[in-house]
């Protein structure tokens, strides 16, 4: 397996391309929440399957990094396995499933439960980077709206939710205001994870390959989920703790256990759950 990979540069991308991506990342860090266009490359995995995140990871990862890849919070979901294997082959980096040990974490749809530290980078895979896209499909228009800080339609949308349903009907990819300036799409993480974006110690990078955009939340940046004074932002709450480790206050997956309505709720963050259950040997 490793012999097949030797024909490629470290972490697959050539150095020119990595430099181009790093320039975009630096710009993104300098303007928190602003979507920076970049010349996304075709990757050996399909668009929509994490090509943006993979390119960002390839641009920031070094030989000494330890990589963790999660999808839906879990390390063992098929796409996470495929991406982890890709970097193990093309970069030869050490990989881990332990949040604590990782220096670079690529994620799809979750932020780990364990608070991240200042020596960690969280790389998000982003399908649609534009928070205004489903209100205004045209890129030419949405860029103007960002430039003019014209976010009225987003507030109108949230208000209409409240008028129609009694509460805001956005449960994931919940829009947030970064550093008081740009409204961003935090990628389809459940809104449960939105508070973890605020003032994080870790650098958060967002890569959208198909849409050719990179954006960032630098460490310690204020990130506020959009809401109203009389309808403050709330996260999902679960009635019962994890059926496996007993955690409460974490995000749970619902597992259908039989065809007679049987259900159980378990941690979405598989590393958190395993650590709580104590069945991970230290340093594994």
């Amino acid at each position: 397996m490793s012999t097949a990979a030797t024909a490629y540069n470290f972490a697959y991308l050539d150095e020119q391309t990595k430099r181009m991506i790093r320039r975009a990342i630096l710009k993104a860090i300098a303007i928190p929440g602003h979507q920076v266009p970049f010349a996304s490359r075709e990757m050996p995995m399909p668009y929509g399957w994490g090509t943006g995140g993979v390119q960002v990871t390839a641009a920031v990862i070094g030989p000494d990094d330890i990589l963790k890849v999660i999808d839906q919070g879990a390390d063992d979901t098929t796409n996470a396995v495929a991406i982890r294997d890709f970097f193990a082959r093309t970069a030869g980096v050490e990989t881990t499933t332990r949040t604590e040990d990782a220096t670079v974490i690529q994620t799809r749809h979750r932020i780990p439960e364990k608070p991240l530290r200042d020596n960690q980078i969280l790389v998000f895979q982003v399908p649609i980077p534009e928070p205004l896209r489903f209100l205004e499909p045209r890129e030419t228009e949405t860029r103007k709206m960002h430039a003019l800080e014209e976010y009225g339609i987003m507030h109108v949308k949230l208000y209409e939710d409240i008028a129609r349903h009694g509460h805001i009907a956005t449960t994931y990819a919940y829009p947030a205001l970064v550093d008081g300036r740009y409204v961003m799409d935090p990628s389809p993480i459940p809104k449960f994870d939105n508070p973890k974006l605020n003032g994080s110690d870790a650098l958060m990078l967002f890569g959208a390959g198909r849409e050719q955009r990179i954006y960032a939340i630098p460490p310690h940046t204020p990130v506020k989920s959009l809401d109203f004074d009389d309808h403050p932002f709330e996260v999902q709450r679960f009635d019962e703790p994890c059926a496996l480790c007993g955690s409460s206050g974490v995000y749970l997956d619902e597992i259908v256990t039989d065809d007679r309505g049987g259900r159980m709720f378990v941690c979405s963050d598989s590393d958190h759950c395993e650590e709580r259950r104590g069945d991970v040997p230290a340093g594994a």
């Binding site: 266009p37 399957w49 979901t77 098929t78 796409n79 890129e139 449960t171 990819a173 459940p190 159980m264």
Partner: protein
């Protein structure tokens, strides 16, 4: 009873092994060779080269084989390989007027300098299945020397090699058709594969995006313009297919040197233009250029190119095929298939979030319904037993009716 997706790594490995087995098919049948694919499924290979944006018949044949004949998958394989290749530079513009013609037709002139040359075409074949093709089949060789390339009788795909002037140049001499746009020497041609697409996109970027765009998507859009969605009154000025030389300017030598040949299909669509305050009436053009032989793609591309030029020509925008952002954002089938198929990936985190919301909203709806029902029962109790509703009163309205729904 927790049965989450454990052992993903092994499952993936096994799935790919099974895929390789299925790809091989019946092992008592000889393995298909790349030469067979490149030679006998040449148009599939052409499409993979065109939309993969990489001119290499052998690699395209390999991709078709590896993809089990799924051409979009093959295009994806080629693209993913292409992006790893270094970019040495930009060729000189290829001169399609100097093309070694294998096929050339015009729908606007019965005869013209250089002649009509049918070449290898499905046109005018009767679409009847040929059972003899099912067995070993050796068709007679093409008639040698039947075509001199200057009459309507030409068919064999051999031309004299003399340059065949392009129809648009013939019309251009009279000023009836808009001239080829002049390249601005101070402005480098942009490269769609090396910089992000932004809007409004200039014609160089638009044509690049269309050239690698999905044949089916462009076909449908081009078709829509014929059916009245931004009608452009097109005529096929000319379609030509053949080989052109690719030249690169060598700094060390001070002149351009030929580095190889590629097969191209070029379509010059000639369209009506009423003229404007600034320009007298003249024919305008839509342009299509595709690797290999694909007239369907080249013609569709030319139709869409023309309809995207509405702004430049002072026309009204009324239809999807004119909408640059819509067309260019969705023409790429590798992107499209990736994003459509990504729905196969697990989404249980987001689905869980939606489940929770829908359950909560259904719970609230049920509570409201119960409240309403309670209220209507109270109303009924207050109305007394002696006021039995007559049939006239049984109109389907009121809170109790809503609660029942």
């Amino acid at each position: 009873m927790y049965v989450a997706v454990k052992g993903g790594e092994q499952a993936i490995g096994n799935a790919h092994r099974l895929l390789a087995h299925e790809r091989r098919g019946d092992r008592s049948v000889p393995d298909i060779t790349l030469a067979q694919i490149a030679g006998q499924l040449a148009l599939a290979v052409d499409r993979v080269m065109a939309e993969g944006s990489l001119y290499d018949r052998d690699l395209a044949a390999l991709a078709v084989k590896q993809a089990r004949g799924d051409l979009i998958e093959a295009i994806f394989l080629i693209r993913a390989y292409r992006t790893t290749l270094p970019r040495f530079g930009v060729s000189e513009p290829v001169d399609t007027a100097a093309m070694q013609i294998r096929r050339r037709i015009s729908a606007t002139f019965k005869d013209l300098p250089g002649g009509q040359l049918l070449g290898p075409t499905f046109d005018y074949t009767h679409r009847l299945l040929e059972p003899e093709l099912a067995g070993a089949n050796d068709p007679p060789p093409p008639q040698a020397g039947a075509s001199t390339g200057n009459s309507t009788g030409g068919a064999t795909g051999e031309s004299t090699g003399a340059p065949v002037p392009r129809v648009t140049d013939l019309l251009g001499a009279e000023g009836l058709v808009e001239p080829d746009p002049e390249a601005d020497p101070g402005r480098a041609t942009r490269d769609l594969t090396r910089e992000p697409l932004d809007f409004p996109a200039d014609r160089d970027l638009r044509l690049q995006a269309l050239a690698r765009g999905d044949e089916g998507f462009l076909l449908a859009l081009g078709y829509s313009t014929q059916r009245g969605y931004a009608r452009s009154h097109p005529f096929v000025g000319e379609i030509r297919f053949g080989e052109v030389e690719v030249e690169v300017f060598a700094e060390e030598l001070g002149f351009a040197v030929a580095i190889g040949r590629v097969s191209l299909t070029e379509c010059q669509m000639v369209n009506q233009f009423k003229g404007s305050a600034k320009a007298p009436p003249q024919f305008t053009r839509g342009y299509g250029l595709v690797f290999g032989q694909s007239e369907r793609k080249a013609m569709s591309m030319a139709l869409v190119d023309r309809s995207l030029r509405w702004r430049e020509l002072g026309e009204e925008q009324t239809a999807p095929a004119q909408d640059e952002e819509f067309v260019l954002s969705h023409a790429d089938n590798v992107r499209a298939t990736g994003f459509v198929e990504h729905l196969k990936l697990p989404h249980y985190v987001d689905f869980q979030a939606e489940l929770e919301l829908v359950r909560r909203m259904r719970g609230e709806a049920a509570d409201n319904a119960r409240d309403d029902q309670g209220r209507s029962r109270d109303d009924h109790d207050r109305s007394g037993v002696d006021q039995r509703p007559s049939s006239d009163d049984q109109t389907p309205s009121g809170p109790s009716r809503e609660a029942a729904e």
